[in-house]
Symmetry: C2
Subunit: 363 residues, 2 copies
């Protein structure tokens, strides 16, 4: 009979089985400093017993007593966004090396879930909180509780330093500029731009960068070729939006030789829209994305894009939160941190030199 009555194997079980006291067993199995004083034979015996019974220390009891959970909450606004995964990987490796565990929650773009999980993370005594979100609800009052309970927090994907929250995100302004620069280096002058949706914090700085680079390269942006994605939560809506806007720009009658899309999914939508109208990418029209997510890499043509160093961003977030947890002693000491990661231009097959010949592509 492996387990006594119902539940798990406990320290008491191991103690009984090995003939030593609970204390000794605990000291041995948790490798406390005192375990140096325990006779080698005892150590071995206890360990063997524990192994045989399949003992696993109860993390809850341990956390309760040790007053530390070794846990960092990770709250993703939408895990299905391919953008999240590399960040999570970065976080995971950052935490792992410090023996911390990420507690991952997926809010699925729903505010109710977001608040509920925030609550849960507080209840589970996450020692710190990493929020992955380009969109986030305005001042969920739960955040006040996070403060009240003195839990450090950092957000990846948007700048909330203005509200005193440490933030780490890509330098959208630089990224936008990089994208525009690339297109103009290829000789494009008539460039359609699809801006991000209103609610999204990335939209504006990216647009600023685009304008700056356009100015610097002497390109003028035709306002009639500037579009905007609708503000929908679903990440696939970018694809739909790109598709629809591509049709619109063709229908508008304005000519253009390149499209600078807000993100990769949008770019893929644009490719779809153009292709269906008989416009070839990149021969007739170049298309740029932003983010460098998986679908952009495996599509044909592969999408030229601006890479966000997501992994590194996640890693840095982990490091920062661990640091903040260490020094938590002084409540409001450290000022909130802002990291702007450097974007990188990734040239693939969806962009090409402007064809001077037969360039008049769209109607």
């Amino acid at each position: 009979m492996p387990q006594k009555k119902s539940g798990h194997v406990t320290l008491t079980d191991v103690a009984r089985a090995s003939g030593f006291s609970v204390s000794t067993v605990s000291i041995v199995l948790s490798e406390a400093p005192l375990s140096q004083n325990v006779a080698a034979a005892t150590r071995e015996h206890v360990r063997a017993m524990a192994r045989q019974l399949g003992y696993h220390p109860d993390a809850h009891a341990r956390s309760l007593r040790r007053r530390s959970t070794q846990t960092i909450g990770v709250l993703a606004f939408d895990l299905s966004d391919p953008f999240c995964i590399p960040i999570m990987r970065g976080i995971q490796s950052g935490l792992h090396s410090a023996d911390y565990l990420p507690l991952v929650m997926d809010a699925q773009t729903q505010r109710k879930l977001f608040d509920g999980y925030l609550n849960l993370l507080l209840e589970r005594r996450a020692e710190g909180l990493i929020v992955i979100a380009s969109w986030v609800f305005e001042e969920t009052n739960l955040l006040a509780d996070v403060r009240k309970n003195n839990v450090p927090i950092i957000i990846v994907g948007r700048d909330l330093t203005s509200r005193g929250i440490s933030s780490i995100l890509v330098d959208n302004e630089a990224g936008g500029a990089l994208a525009m620069q690339h297109l103009s280096d290829l000789g494009h002058r008539k460039i359609a731009v699809i801006r991000g949706p209103q609610g999204m914090s990335d939209s504006e700085p990216r647009w600023q960068g685009i304008q700056r680079a356009a100015d610097q390269s002497g390109t003028t942006l035709d306002p009639r070729l500037v579009f905007e994605l609708p503000a929908l939560a679903d990440p696939e809506s970018g694809f739909e939006g790109g598709c629809r806007l591509a049709r619109e720009m063709l229908a508008s009658g304005r000519s253009f030789s390149a499209v600078l899309a807000f993100d990769d999914l949008t770019a893929l939508g644009v490719v779809r829209g153009l292709t269906e109208a008989g416009v070839r990418v990149p021969e007739d029209c170049s298309v740029m994305g932003f983010d460098d997510v998986l679908p952009a890499r495996v599509a044909t043509p592969s999408i030229s894009t601006i890479r966000q160093p997501l992994n590194e961003m996640g890693l840095k977030a982990a490091e920062h939160i661990l640091h903040a947890v260490k020094v938590k002693t002084s409540p409001t000491s450290e000022p909130s941190l802002l990291v702007k990661a450097s974007p990188e231009l990734i040239v693939r097959s969806s962009t090409a030199l402007r064809q001077s010949k037969k360039k008049g592509k769209a109607s």
Copy 2:
């Protein structure tokens, strides 16, 4: 001064602040049956105090005392596989309605991590375990501990009923047949097949289904047009593999008008390989995928594929594990369950009728 010395707000704090005993406060805040006996005024007062202090009950202490964690471990073999996300969503919604929380871990295809997290889930007293894995390591001895601790387990993505583990997966045989049937319905007779890698359990039944459907439609499969993916862990290796094999099949000199790829990523690789060689999809050659993941939907041409009802599978896994948790009383009572979900043919733009004219496409 919101919090007393350092940690979180506790029941004792609320008790002190409200002037009632810890018991009363607990009864009120946890809405225990006894709370009906508590004076309405008291209830309100206690609640207000708790809210004001930002009290959140300590989940660890609660689990310890209640001897139930309301937690199900979800161990994904590789979260970056787009295949996982919809399953997780299904699991999440299934658990949510029962007030259970998924504890998500990502093994990143590494055995060390897999075992480590399995351990962690045991330590955190997950009441049940859902493993998402098409690949899984042979008999990790941790699974013995799972048994020993009497934790119900179910695996999504492969059939382990032979080892007494409940399993839920797509009917690969039917799916393979569906795919082959679709191609032959379109008139294709010379069909190249890319089988899954050796180590992967899906590979064989899918191949069986393909053969059966080929037989039934009177198509003979040329062994020289049957390829196999190498056994690599990285999910993107499917893409690389498809790319390379497409080149190989063109170089082989055998003619073919369709490619049935093992999964969507492989299919996308094939599209890339063919396109780069000047073969048009689907005009010159049709390509089929399997899984219906995001990249297949947003690529152009979009990939015809066999959809796995991932969401439903996740949901079912959640329901099953919850059931198993309920009846856990009798240790080895229930026989292990096997669910084979029905695959669905999704026709998109990567497959088309065989062109009888100028069909001689490849070399």
